[in-house]
Symmetry: C2
Subunit: 269 residues, 2 copies
Amino acid sequence: MATNSAPTFATIANPPYAGSDVSGASGLTPAFSPLYQQIKGLILQSLQSGEWKPGEAIPSEMDLAARFRVSQGTVRKAIDELSADNLLVRRQGKGTFVATHAEQHVQYRFLKLKPDNGDTQSEGPAERTIIDCKRLRASADIARALSLRSGEPVLQVRRVLAYAGVPTILEELWLPGSPFKGLTADRLSNYKGPMYALFETEFGVRMVRAEESIRAVNPDADQAQLLNVAIHAPLLSVERVAYTYNDTPMELRRGLYRTDTHHYRNALS
Amino acid sequence: MATNSAPTFATIANPPYAGSDVSGASGLTPAFSPLYQQIKGLILQSLQSGEWKPGEAIPSEMDLAARFRVSQGTVRKAIDELSADNLLVRRQGKGTFVATHAEQHVQYRFLKLKPDNGDTQSEGPAERTIIDCKRLRASADIARALSLRSGEPVLQVRRVLAYAGVPTILEELWLPGSPFKGLTADRLSNYKGPMYALFETEFGVRMVRAEESIRAVNPDADQAQLLNVAIHAPLLSVERVAYTYNDTPMELRRGLYRTDTHHYRNALS
DNA sequence: CAGTGGTCTAGACCACACT
DNA sequence: GTGTGGTCTAGACCACTGC
């Protein structure tokens, strides 16, 4: 007796949490890590390689799940993190898109200087004036910031941003020579929209994150004249290093901010 | 024929995505929103009410799921967001804990001034000197920042922070009178650890987030003397409003930072 | 309407920490 | 070993977008 009940279940084809490495699917990920981290890495590779360009939609979660041979939930968690890092933007009902500095509701995402009245909208965009754009050889400190060797070619750009006719920001920025070959003062002057949008469109360089070091300083004579302030006026010195994918530094920017009608805003949490 | 197969399945007791309101479980959540957001709100209420205090463990995900009558995954998503907001801290194998400014690996989480050598560790904690702690009536601007009415009682604290004997930070801060009744210069002087840890322990006030407005300024005569700098030295002015749960402002702090050996560090993403 | 992301559940197993 | 959070899957349904 007692032989007909207690059915034995067949082995599930794709067992949950098999811990399998996904390396064979579409790329290579040597070290072990959670599946969704590996997927994140693979998506990152596609972003770096330019398979999906800024502003474009990436494949749907279901498509990516099929491509990487994982469940939709795992892809979702990978995309969740990338979208928390501002590399992707999800839009319900439409798809997931590669973040871009252009056509983004929050333009000038990295510029933290705000008018004291808070109303960034009514102030409108800054009036931009390129002072010059020169080819130079990297000095020691510039080279170190950009992970180059001293003497390697760099581009130096200087410009002034004014609000309501008042010069407010003086910037001096350095870019590695090779990725930005062909950048000229003209192209900078004629471009509408954020400089980082131009970098994306014309040079395929997307700035992903940045770090700023802030100090209070006095201007030198040239700087005082360009910003139309007294030589003893206190100014904000903002030194920024901006990075692309893979934590590669791609820009060193030194800004001098007037803070008589504006302030640097920062949220802490 | 054909009556014995195709078993009809019984109704599942707790159907997936029933869209049911959870109001009856433990609190009230009038407007509709995703379940995990409602759970997040309920957890937040327990944090505010002091049911779980800073540093303590909250119930396990399974316990909370049972309490709120939802699945573990839903509780998990709620906790995920709260932990992304730095209100909770997860520790694998141990539990989920209420974040605290004390016994936290990253002490002085809101202080962004770093030594130029980057090595916060070797520098050690600041030497703190309380100048005074007075009961005052709120001026118009103080009242506005703290959501009080002009003339309501506030506490004003002034102090200096020094590194290696060099006075570097001069702070003036205002606190609403009622929550901080009983705060004295002595209690501030004798307390070891961050001021926000004292606020948690002694007054049950946990600072959750803050906003800072930064400017470059010159000190007045008093300030210059306290910081041991010339009257024309450029200094960083950092005005902070710190909030508890529910976006209630609980502190206004005006700091003057010397930036000759330190800098204000900020990460953008 | 179909397709997309968003939410929810249920159940399995892994990795870690304490005891 | 037991309990905790962490990962993964599968399947269902909701909400939004655009054809």
